[in-house]
């Protein structure tokens, strides 16, 4: 991104400390990953927090923008690639995961991060998740779970709680919600984590581990939709019911992972991590077998 048009090069700011903060941000290298386009999300949207945590993690891992690919589906999260300085594939609704897998399989040297909402990933695209996990393609999938269809202005999503009133269910949602974390664990993703957009200092390390993980890493981030959800995932509701996994938690025990994931308390952290051969490892073996 060009220096001259950076958002920080606007008119000088008053000495309120903001200038110093901005200078810190600038020196951090975080802005290298931001494009010239400013996000179009509503003020207060949880996505800003997720973006910051992701950017911090990418920056810490020092991934070069030209080797970084963001792939997204349709929805508010779908716009993500426009706001980042990286290659981006804004795909069609529900198909970000197979598109991202295609990018990574075609060129395993790239870092591929797929982002999408709960409707995109568990509704229309729900069929792809299990297979990408099964294949253990080395990509990170960050599911922005706000429990609502935001871009189309407030309809029921696959994670909207039962009985919630929405645009498409004015008398209450009759369908049981899905929980992405328990799905990820039961499919046996090699990395499953849950984070919260409102708690960046916990989210950044989760992201860092997810990006560094070899294999399919699945990160579910709870994120308030301040405009269309006033009752479910709100900043207020999240306070108190949100705990980090215990210090002695064993992230290699899948039954424990399921127990914590299904608990009434919303635990966050890395629920499960397992190193197993990736799709790319298998492909190297396949190539050897084919040649011999």
């Amino acid at each position: 991104m060009s220096e001259t048009s950076s958002p920080t090069n606007e008119a000088p700011l008053l000495d309120t400390g903001v200038e110093r903060d901005l200078q810190n941000v600038q020196e951090s290298g975080l802005l290298d990953y931001r494009s010239e386009s400013l996000p179009t999300w509503c003020p207060g949207c949880g996505y800003y927090g997720i973006t910051h945590a992701m950017t911090e993690a990418i920056n810490e891992l020092d991934i070069e923008p030209h080797n970084l690919v963001f792939v997204s589906g349709i929805g508010c999260a779908g716009r993500y690639p426009f706001f980042m300085n990286a290659y981006g594939l804004h795909a069609i609704h529900g198909r970000a995961v197979p598109m991202g897998a295609g990018v990574k399989i075609a060129n395993p040297d790239l870092s591929v991060i797929v982002v999408g909402g709960d409707g995109d990933g568990l509704g229309i695209g729900g069929g792809h998740l299990s297979h990408a996990i099964r294949r253990n393609v080395d990509i990170t999938y960050i599911l922005f779970d706000n429990g609502i269809y935001g871009l189309t202005k407030g309809q029921t999503s696959p994670t909207t709680p039962q009985e919630q009133i929405t645009g498409t269910h004015p008398y209450g949602n009759p369908d049981m919600p899905l929980d992405a974390v328990t799905l990820g664990i039961s499919y046996r993703a090699s990395f499953v984590a849950r984070g919260y957009a409102g708690q960046q200092h916990d989210l950044t390390p989760i992201m860092r581990r997810a990006f560094a993980h070899k294999g399919f890493s699945f990160v579910v981030v709870y994120t308030p939709c301040v405009t269309f959800d006033k009752v479910n995932i709100t900043y207020e509701n999240m306070r108190g019911n949100w705990k980090p996994l215990p210090d002695d938690y064993d992230d290699g025990n899948i039954l424990e992972a399921m127990k914590y994931a299904m608990d009434d308390t919303l635990w966050h952290g890395v629920f499960y991590e397992e190193q197993r051969p990736t799709f790319h490892d298998h492909e190297r073996e396949t190539a050897e077998k084919a040649r011999s």
Binding site: G88, M99, G102, N107
Partner: protein
């Protein structure tokens, strides 16, 4: 059909008919291999049911000729009956003076009136041999009746037995030496029996006209040719989901592609397949999927993204009978509209249609170049008839360069103010892909600016629509003009056909030229979208009547020709679960004369 010149035949169609499991297809394969080795051309199109086991009828249908054939031929000169009841139902396709080779001691579990010998019509010639007994003598089983029958054919038509011996060894090269020898013995018993007992009265004679021992010809199907094209085009990523009749392409690539560093993925469905492929194309690697109509239905949304975001990728559609699940093992050219228009909005893409097995290789290979060069999805329209028919192909003679040269336009690494979708005269903007430094950009299915940012203004949309269209206009200009045959100047009738029906179209012209004084010509495009409208209009202007032949119900290409030429055309369009017989075109043209 078999024309006798100097007592030597030029052309014979042999059908081997049996119940599924009788070995008709294997017999056909050996016949094809032997004929190719002897220097003849082969065109083979088998017919079998969609079910794997049961009582379905399998027919191996081989045309063996001294000149390259245009069609497999509708009428059969020789029917080999491995199963009598099934063969009785095939007698209708035998020529009036055709030969039936049958088991003179058919299985006793058939009803008396179910012996094929009892159904042979006057004028036809029957040669009986104890196929079952001779088979048992050679291999202690009735399973090698098919090979015994080949021995009879070899003697009767004068085909060199050595070529069959070689073919038997090649066909079972993975099996034991003793099994191969037993089969050679079965063949020899058939040959010797025929030599001693059959009084040859038919006119088919290939004796002493062997065109030399040929080793560089391969008998390949359209699917095999397309798979080889993918390999030779340096395909990096193939993602597919099994579907008849395209599956063979994936099976070949699964075996061969990893040897050259490419990857094959079996996806969970066709949507996932095309999405992986678009991901691969965006990543700058040649990517491809092959499917049939029902799979294309699932892929249309993603394919539309590839048009909008200008991602190179190749989709092979081996068409089959539709609509819906339709007729999985029958041929049809009914996905033309789907290929051209299958999308929301107006979504220009390239559609190429090979006309024979050799072209399945050439054109599929060229499809990758067109995809890269024009930054567009390219659909290759094959069909069951092309996918599964076999022809002798000499690879070094199949030159993809026939179809032009198209270059990939990439951005310079140091480019300042890089705009991925910059407006250019050709419509093609320099492309960059992940890994290329300082050229990062998003791509999107939203209408976008030159900078690839979402934009909804009418002015920008109009310019972008025009940009995407200009790329196709350029392709229509640069792709070689459609093949035009026949005399120059005015024509009484012009025949247009495309894809797998080109052979029947050309064959009809040959037959009509031989039997009438009428001036008949034809136009045969391989680029079926975008249309080369100038060439079509020019050709139409020379024709009093225009006939468009294809295997679909509504005449989908005829509709396009009508649109372009603004005149009524005669449709020879049938959805009859078979390749279009030449005779139907000939009859229709004669009605017009």
């Amino acid at each position: 059909m078999s024309v006798k010149t100097d007592n030597a035949s030029r052309d014979v169609v042999i059908a081997v008919c049996g119940a599924a499991g009788d070995g008709s297809i294997a017999a056909g394969q050996i016949l094809n291999m032997a004929a190719t080795t002897m220097g003849y051309h082969v065109m083979n199109f088998d017919s079998f049911p969609a079910e794997i086991r049961g009582f379905g009828k399998s027919v191996a249908h081989s045309r063996i000729s001294r000149d390259k054939a245009l069609t497999p031929g509708t009428m059969v000169n020789c029917l080999v009956a491995l199963d009598d009841p099934h063969s009785i139902t095939e007698l209708h396709s035998l020529t009036q003076d055709g030969v039936v080779i049958y088991d003179s001691k058919p299985a006793d579990y058939h009803e008396e009136d179910q012996a094929v010998a009892g159904w042979i019509q006057p004028g036809m010639i029957g040669y009986g041999a104890p196929l079952r007994d001779l088979s048992a003598q050679a291999t202690k089983s009735s399973k090698s009746r098919n090979i015994v029958a080949l021995g009879v054919i070899s003697y009767v038509f004068g085909f060199e037995p050595g070529a069959f011996h070689e073919a038997i060894h090649r066909r079972w090269s993975g099996k034991s030496e003793s099994l191969r020898e037993m089969n050679v013995e079965a063949f020899n018993l058939g040959y010797e029996y025929a030599e001693a007992n059959i009084d040859k009265v038919d006119p088919i004679d290939f004796k002493n006209i062997t065109e030399g021992h040929v080793t560089d010809a391969n008998i390949v199907s359209g699917n095999e040719a397309a798979a080889k094209a993918c390999l030779d085009a340096n395909l990096r990523l193939y993602v597919g989901y099994p579907i008849t009749p395209a599956t063979k392409i994936m099976e070949i690539l699964a075996k061969q592609l990893p040897k050259q560093g490419g990857v094959v993925v079996q996806s969970e469905d066709e949507i996932s397949a095309i999405c992986h492929v678009i991901g691969g194309g965006f990543a700058g690697k040649r990517s491809c999927t092959a499917t049939s109509g029902p799979g294309v239905c699932l892929m249309t949304e993603a394919l539309n993204l590839a048009v909008m975001a200008e991602v190179p990728c190749v989709l092979i559609n081996a068409q089959r009978g539709g609509p819906s699940t339709g007729l999985p093992t029958k041929t049809e050219q009914s996905d033309l509209n789907l290929a051209i228009y299958g999308a929301s909005g107006e979504s220009p893409r390239a559609v190429l249609a090979p006309a024979n097995v050799g072209e399945c290789y050439q054109i599929t290979r060229k499809a990758f170049e067109v995809a890269d060069g024009f930054q567009t999805p390219v659909i290759v329209l094959m069909d069951f008839f092309l996918s599964n028919r076999m022809e002798d192909v000499r690879w070094q003679a199949e030159d993809p360069g026939t179809w032009g040269t198209y270059e990939d336009v990439l951005a310079e690494p140091s480019e300042e103010e890089y705009k991925r979708f910059a407006f250019t005269e050709s419509g093609i903007s320099p492309r960059s892909y992940p890994g290329m430094q300082d050229l990062q950009h998003p791509i999107t299915g939203l209408e976008h600016t030159e900078d690839s940012l979402p934009a909804y203004s009418g002015e920008n949309h109009t310019r972008m629509m025009a940009k995407r269209q200009r790329k196709l206009d350029k392709l229509a200009r640069e792709w070689p003009g459609p093949e035009v045959v026949g005399p120059e100047g005015d024509l009484d009738v012009g025949i247009i056909s495309w894809g797998s029906t080109v052979g029947a179209g050309k064959n009809a012209i040959k037959q009509l030229q031989a039997k009438t004084d009428a001036r008949i010509g034809g136009l045969f495009p391989r680029l079926v979208w975008p249309l080369q409208t100038d060439a079509i209009t020019e050709f139409a202007g020379r024709c009093e009547h225009l006939v468009v032949a294809e295997t679909n119900y509504t005449g989908q290409f005829a509709n396009l020709v009508q649109q372009v030429t603004l005149r009524e055309v005669t449709r020879v369009a049938e959805a009859a679960a078979r390749p279009l017989p030449t005779q139907i075109i000939v009859d229709r043209v004669q009605d017009l004369l």
